[in-house]
Symmetry: C2
Subunit: 333 residues, 2 copies
Amino acid sequence: MLRIDENQIVRLLRGRFGARSPSLIQGIGDDAAVLRLRGAREHLVVTTDMLLEGVDFRRSWIAPPELGHKSLAVNLSDLAAMGARPRFFTVALALPADVSEGWIQDFYGGMSILAKRQGAMLIGGDLSRSSSGIQVTITAIGETSGRRVACRSGGRPGDLLFVTGILGKAAAGLALLRQGRTSGRSAAERLALRSHRAPEPRCDAGLWLVGNRFISCMMDLSDGLSTDLPRLCEASGVGAEIHGAQLPVFAEARRWQCDPVDLALNGGEDFELLFAVPERKAARLEKAYPSKYPPISRIGRLRRERDVVWAPSPDLPLRPLAPRGFDHFRNFS
Amino acid sequence: MLRIDENQIVRLLRGRFGARSPSLIQGIGDDAAVLRLRGAREHLVVTTDMLLEGVDFRRSWIAPPELGHKSLAVNLSDLAAMGARPRFFTVALALPADVSEGWIQDFYGGMSILAKRQGAMLIGGDLSRSSSGIQVTITAIGETSGRRVACRSGGRPGDLLFVTGILGKAAAGLALLRQGRTSGRSAAERLALRSHRAPEPRCDAGLWLVGNRFISCMMDLSDGLSTDLPRLCEASGVGAEIHGAQLPVFAEARRWQCDPVDLALNGGEDFELLFAVPERKAARLEKAYPSKYPPISRIGRLRRERDVVWAPSPDLPLRPLAPRGFDHFRNFS
């Protein structure tokens, strides 16, 4: 039985493949790789993510256009996290025999709408039959603005922590699906379901934040704040404190028996951006940040002590924030 | 039930995503995409291929280091077919719960040996548990020599057709496995098994052929000559004739009841290069071609008539060459 987690595998790969090269600005272990090509004015940013039926989605919970959208969105979100503009992508698709031609059309239809909106071109891929479920693997390639790029490393003690958007909305949608509600009966339910099924990658915001040199480090929230924040901290060699009262939670989820703070801390697949800003730049950022992008919220700060702690409310003491999000390997038996 | 073949899906995608862009030299439908980046001295070449347990391999027929090697090799072969030098790759790996940490080490071990030999760096990837078999999807990125690149299009009537190496060796290895022989008892058997399990991508030869401007079009042989040659012909708007007596066959396969010519025509996974050369350049190519690369053989020529024909021996008339290789979608039920 596999007793190895994702972080261990990343270390294994770094040991075996960790070559240094002037063309490799950032290799394994960040949201995406950053390449410097001879003569090129921009750096290239490359990321790969897969979605597997039975692991990452159920066919009865997501329509083909949404699955096409989401498969691409999770990859573009990694580009957003580096501050890169989407340019190209490939799709490897394995399909079981019970998938119809109409399904394939709808899948690529949803994908192409997002691709066009974000400026990403499909450049190739692979197709195969699958002896089990649907499997989608996408590799997305983006370009930096000039040669500016954001990494998980670079955060310093004292930097303020921000997130885009609302946290826990996608997990609230997943909770609805688990309760058997596949179509929303209220605006809040529909919003939650849509956040889970068709998340919007924050490419514009990421590009703006990096292009305007506000941030010290950044990542996207795919596995939940309590799991992802320690990764940001480890890469930056810092710890962090989170103020629960400042979290932009999805309060409506209470209506379907969810704890909004729990969802915001531990719910996955929000695909919002988590980033740190030197304190002296924070007020300027808040003033300059374009209102057309999803709003940003201060949620805490980085600190010298290497642990990650949080205070549920201002009157309560800081306590350890245990990672309760999704680790793709911890679930192995 | 799915009644759509790979070529139809490629047409569907071209219709939906077929955007024109100055940065896209070659999009969907060749062995790899070719990108022109602002300021860059070389073009970038990108390809994606997946290997699925139960479809492309059986765990009992291939050792973990060989699977690691082969997963990367099939992608590097696509780069070879464009005349690109391997530079970077990503690996998306889904693993069932019964795979051990040692398996993962061995898999990446085999991959890293080939990667180092070919100059390719692992730059990222994704890891997931799988509820079914092992799934490997690799995206490889290469660079052209200058801005020279080979495509499937570009062949002209009269051009001579060549292949590298021996055809049918990998299929001869697969035949052994199907007969229950997982370890070779003779040098020929071991060679055949090794060709099937750990094919060597022809990157050096491809780069040399394109860099020296000998060829008019090129592709790699992954699904068998009788299936791949029509794809080359369609892209070039030509037909072709093949001379059976000139095929570099793997004669030793007769010892295990295989027809070497049938294997050469219809056996998949040789990952040799198939290319066309203007007749006036052919003799010069044969003289200049480095002996350290796998030998090349003239096997026929392109022709104006759009069909693909072959003559089993010089005294027999030309007859249609029916595609009997592997179509990843024709096998759908």
